[in-house]
Amino acid sequence: MKPAPFDYLRAETLEEALEALHQAGTEARVLAGGQSLLPMLNMRLARPALLVDIMPIAALREVADAAGALRIGAGIRQAALQARPGLARQQPLLAAALPWVGHAQTRSRGTLCGSVAHADPSAEIPLVLVAMGGHVHLRSRRGARRVAAEEFFTGMMATTRAEEEMIEAITLPHAAPDSGHAFREVGRRHGDFAITACAAVVDARSARLAVGGVADRPVARALPLPSDPALEDALEQFAWSLEARDDLHATAAYRRHLVRRLGRAVLEEAAACRA
């Protein structure tokens, strides 16, 4: 349970980090808060030759309102964002989900972008990013690009991030004025990864449900409003489309059940908090 040897570079500037990632390619991993990466290193599921610590980089430690969205830099820790004044008003879904991310003892160090980079299919932050239609901002020595959250996650801990790219920030559109949001998850114990997590965004004309922990990535879908009798069938179809699997924690059938029940519950809750 100790990491295999690696070099460690404390990057002071973005340029320094990008140069190191460029030179090392697949051999390097970005280290931010370390709350997803360190377990992987300790269990030797990852054996990088180089860790590039990006936490000293001042430019990555910014949270900013940018064109109706919240831009969260790669150096922002989960606990720091949780304490941001006005978060529940601008980002009610994120504010509702953050207390479910790990424990207080890991949120103190873990970053939002780190959780996105890790791309665990049951993690809360990637789910919120997909539910809100957010973006991932990637940068390498060759340039920068922006990827929609739904295209970023491609499978179990797999993303479209290229070898030498790093996540520089994520952006989440602010909640629309007449919209309601809700988040719920079911796990064995508080702080465990979710067996199933559901996030809903509802406005006057549309409803959107995102589900984590069932498919190999977080998946969002537009659904009928909770008042529409068509919702029942749509939820049923959504639940089956996620191709749930049995594992140690729950059966596929239980996960489908949770998508139907938890899905309806968050949609109703989101619709109710609009009113």
Partner: protein
């Protein structure tokens, strides 16, 4: 900063329980092992080494964190507080420690240092915590002995004592 080479030991400077300390660490050395083997501070316990059990919880710059999910080399210049730093004097327990003793908040004591460090940080910021909030803090720790109820009682008692001492009881 130069790249720290794998397999070589590098000097680190940090503060442990208010005192400036230094020690050597390979890049892959975990903070938990650095504390125990390099600095000799064995009060911090190690259980799972992947962030689940909470035994290794220390305070880094005031916030509770897992020492097993932190590299020693990340701690250059940081202020670490461990269970050794809680007692005000060698022959006196802190209010929180005293409450654990009174309310049987520990049996084997394996989980205790981590739980104390989480609760100490929490009680500093929450003068009048409710039981639900304390349960939430404890959810980050596993205890195989007590069943948690005595720990909860100890934490509530400590909170009350601390509030009284601060004069806002």
């Amino acid at each position: 900063m130069p790249r720290l080479k794998a397999g070589q030991r590098h000097w680190l400077h940090l503060t442990l329980n208010g005192k400036a300390v230094e020690g050597e660490a390979e890049p892959r050395l975990l903070l938990s092992d650095f504390l125990r083997y390099e600095l000799g501070a064995t009060g911090t316990h190690v259980g799972c080494e992947h962030g689940v059990c909470g035994a290794c919880t220390v305070q880094i710059d005031g916030a509770p964190a897992r020492a097993c999910l932190t590299l020693a080399v990340q701690m250059e210049g940081a202020a670490i507080r461990t269970v050794e730093g809680l007692a005000p004097a060698p022959d006196r327990l802190s209010i929180l420690q005293e409450a654990f003793r009174e309310h049987h908040g520990l049996q084997c004591g394996f989980c205790t240092p981590g739980i104390l460090m989480s609760l100490d940080a929490f009680l500093r910021e929450h003068r009048r915590p409710n039981e639900a909030a304390l349960r939430e803090v404890l959810s980050g720790h596993l205890c195989r002995c007590t069943g948690y109820a005595p720990i909860l009682r100890a934490a509530l008692a400590a909170a009350e004592r601390l509030a009284k001492e601060a004069g806002d009881a």
